[in-house]
């Protein structure tokens, strides 16, 4: 479904952002290699966990996969089609939600979903039906006509997910979806991710919570300082490191590159 090959993204650094003290190994002169030569694949209907420390390059990778950023080099194929060649068509097949995705506070959830539905070219009648169906699925019917600025974090994340699902995409990119949510809200959101998997959608799921990885992911990709350091199943993570806890396995996999890292 998705095949990532030799993917590299280099940003030009503003002078003020250049490291003063200890240099990040990804900073080369005025250029910052956010991700460097990443390669992995995801099959249709699979949930892939994207792991890495803060600043590892997960968000940059997801932004490239969502077509909002263009890679400096390398290729991403979606069913054999290069992502950069026809991004408008690819966007119809992708839904993206980030932990810090915002909502239009002055619009109601229904107005916002209608807005994105219209941008995706969905006809009015079909759009109302789709909003109704998503509201039932995500249990958001009771706050659909409230302004987004009045919603709680959990409710807002549900609206974000509904926004990403409005055009019924095949691929879902979730970037730290449960960040900042309480246990109940996170559980409710994860149930939606599980439902997406059951519906046969392909999900790329970036998280810091290993229990979520254990619960949902078929395979895992770990990025450290912009480079791929592990690709395989959850069981392979354990067997390769000899650790039964995924937290420890994760740290062991990145430890050779992070001196003194402790749990």
């Amino acid at each position: 479904m998705l095949q990532v090959s030799s993917l590299t993204k280099v940003f030009r650094l503003a002078c003020s952002k250049r490291a003063r003290g200890e240099r990040d190994p990804r900073e080369r002169g005025r250029r910052f290699h956010a991700i460097d030569g990443i390669e992995f694949g995801v099959r249709r209907g699979q949930v892939l966990g994207l792991l890495g420390q803060n600043g590892a390059g997960k968000t940059t990778l997801l932004r490239i996969l969502s077509t909002s950023l263009k890679p400096t080099s390398g290729v991403v194929l979606c069913d054999g089609e290069d992502l950069t060649k026809n991004p408008l068509e690819i966007r119809k097949r992708i839904g993206f939600v980030s932990g810090n995705t915002g909502l239009y506070g002055r619009l109601t959830a229904r107005e916002m979903l209608r807005y994105y539905g219209k941008l995706h070219g969905i006809a009015a009648a079909a759009l109302d039906e789709r909003i109704g169906s998503l509201a039932r699925k995500l249990d958001m019917g009771w706050f659909l006509d409230q302004r987004n600025e009045t919603l709680s974090s959990g409710m807002r994340q549900k609206v974000s997910i509904a926004r990403a699902l409005i055009h019924d995409p095949e691929i879902l990119l979730f970037d730290e979806l449960t960040t900042g949510l309480d246990v109940a809200a996170a559980e409710s959101v994860l149930t939606v991710v599980a439902a997406c998997k059951r519906e046969g959608r392909t999900v790329l799921f970036s998280t810091h919570h290993m229990d979520e990885v254990d619960q949902l992911c078929d395979s895992v990709v770990i990025i450290h300082e912009g480079k791929l350091c592990f690709e395989g199943g959850v069981d392979a993570m354990r067997s390769q490191t000899g650790e039964s806890f995924l937290d420890k396995a994760f740290l062991r996999l990145i430890r050779p590159k992070t001196e003194g890292a402790t749990i």
Binding site: F32, S66, L69, K70, T101
Partner: protein
């Protein structure tokens, strides 16, 4: 099905019109605050002017015995009250401390000069730093009245009979001024530069908040990234946003125009007919042209400020970056206030200044309508160029995802 930019535009308008701050600047300010402030300002000016004319002026005279007739003229005049002061040395302090309004010092030799048919002079001490003061005019009028009487008496003594003969002697050649400028041209030239200045400033204010909200605000709220993932070309997103920001400027300008027009129509009578004369001589076509002129200005401001706003990381940074533009963009508008700057084929191509000068000409009623083509062409080209730049700018990762 609507085009992508229409969908973006309609949503942005809904979003903007639900913002209290924008509504305040775009609607409440022109409809309520501007006429209210004008009312207060004009009322204050008229009141002060009236007070200056009718206020009783307290004065002292030193040496009134050397020109008793002159002293009597002041004593008999309405609106003057004679008071006493120790010595002429205290005059300056007394005027500065507001104890008296002016002082006259008549030298001893004045009596001899007046009786000897010579020219005499007296001193007037007053506060010449006060702009609204009418002391000088009112004293001058009384002195002239005294001089007229004295001149007539002296001429009669010389055998020149009063009436035409004296007039022909005093003013052998009289210059009769016949200005070719209509009252509208004269007044339009004086105040015509101010009107576009205000309209352009209001247009800028109407554009600022929507630009910040729809540019940097989207980044700050985290909604820009999801909008960029919509399957429509980015130039359509820019166009939708631009139209919403541009509409903000146009709404502000039209409301200002309507509000000021209504206020002036109601108040024309109170303003001693001058404004009424101007309003009466401006026809509907001029008003429509006045509003049309501001369309490319609003478009220029919208494209420029949206570009700046989308570059900023957040609303606070956008406000900081936009603030200097408030001054930079108003300077060309203020050029129309300078004496000697008139609309010609050169100025017709200078952005903002051309609009300002054209509005001035419209108010004067001396507009060369062929220049409108150059003005619209220049302004539309610049607005189009800025919009093109904004669309290109909106495609740059380094702008949208600034590190």
């Amino acid at each position: 099905m609507k085009a992508g930019f229409q969908t973006v535009f309609l949503k942005e308008m809904k979003d903007v019109l639900r913002d209290r701050k924008t509504l305040l600047l775009m609607i409440v300010l022109p409809i309520v605050v501007v006429p209210l402030l004008l009312n207060l300002l004009i009322g204050f000016v008229i009141k002060k002017e009236q007070e200056a004319k009718t206020e009783v002026l307290e004065y002292v005279v030193f040496g009134d015995e050397f020109a008793p007739e002159l002293a009597k003229t002041f004593e008999a005049a309405n609106g003057f009250k004679k008071v006493t002061l120790g010595s002429p040395d205290e005059l300056v302090a007394a005027i500065r401390e507001d104890r008296i309004d002016f002082g006259l010092v008549i030298p001893e030799k004045t009596a001899a000069q007046l009786s000897g048919q010579e020219q005499a002079s007296i001193e007037l001490h007053f506060d010449n730093a006060s702009m609204g003061s009418k002391v000088e005019d009112r004293v001058q009028n009384l002195v002239e009245k005294f001089n007229d009487g004295l001149t007539a008496a002296r001429l009669a003594k010389l055998g020149v009979s009063p009436g035409q003969k004296q007039k022909s002697l005093l003013e052998p050649l009289r210059l009769r001024k016949q200005g070719t400028g209509k009252i509208r041209e004269v007044i339009g030239d004086r105040i015509g530069g101010m009107v576009p200045y205000f309209f352009i400033a209001f247009c800028f204010m109407g554009v600022v908040y929507p630009a910040i909200h729809l540019g940097a605000g989207e980044k700050e709220r985290g909604t820009l990234e999801t909008l960029l993932l919509a399957p429509i070309p980015r130039h359509q997103i820019v166009l939708g946003k631009f139209l919403a920001v541009f509409s903000g400027g146009i709404i502000a300008v039209l409301l200002n125009l309507a509000s000021l027009g209504t206020w002036l129509a109601i108040k024309a009578g109170d303003l001693r007919g001058i404004i009424g004369t101007i309003i009466g001589s401006i026809d509907l076509l001029d008003l429509v042209l006045l509003a049309l002129m501001l369309i490319p200005v609003a478009a220029m401001f919208a494209a420029l400020l949206l570009s700046v706003s989308i570059f900023a990381r957040n609303s606070a940074e956008a406000s900081t970056l936009i603030s200097p533009f408030g001054i930079v963009l108003i300077i060309p508008a203020a050029l129309a206030l300078l004496p000697g700057v008139e609309l010609n084929w050169f100025w017709a191509w200078v952005p903002v200044t051309n609009i300002s000068l054209a509005m001035k000409e419209l108010l004067k009623g001396t507009m060369d309508y062929t220049m409108l083509l150059a003005i619209f062409a220049s302004s539309t080209l610049i607005a189009g160029g800025l919009l093109f730049f904004c669309a290109k700018w909106f495609n740059r990762e380094s702008v949208l995802f600034r590190m």
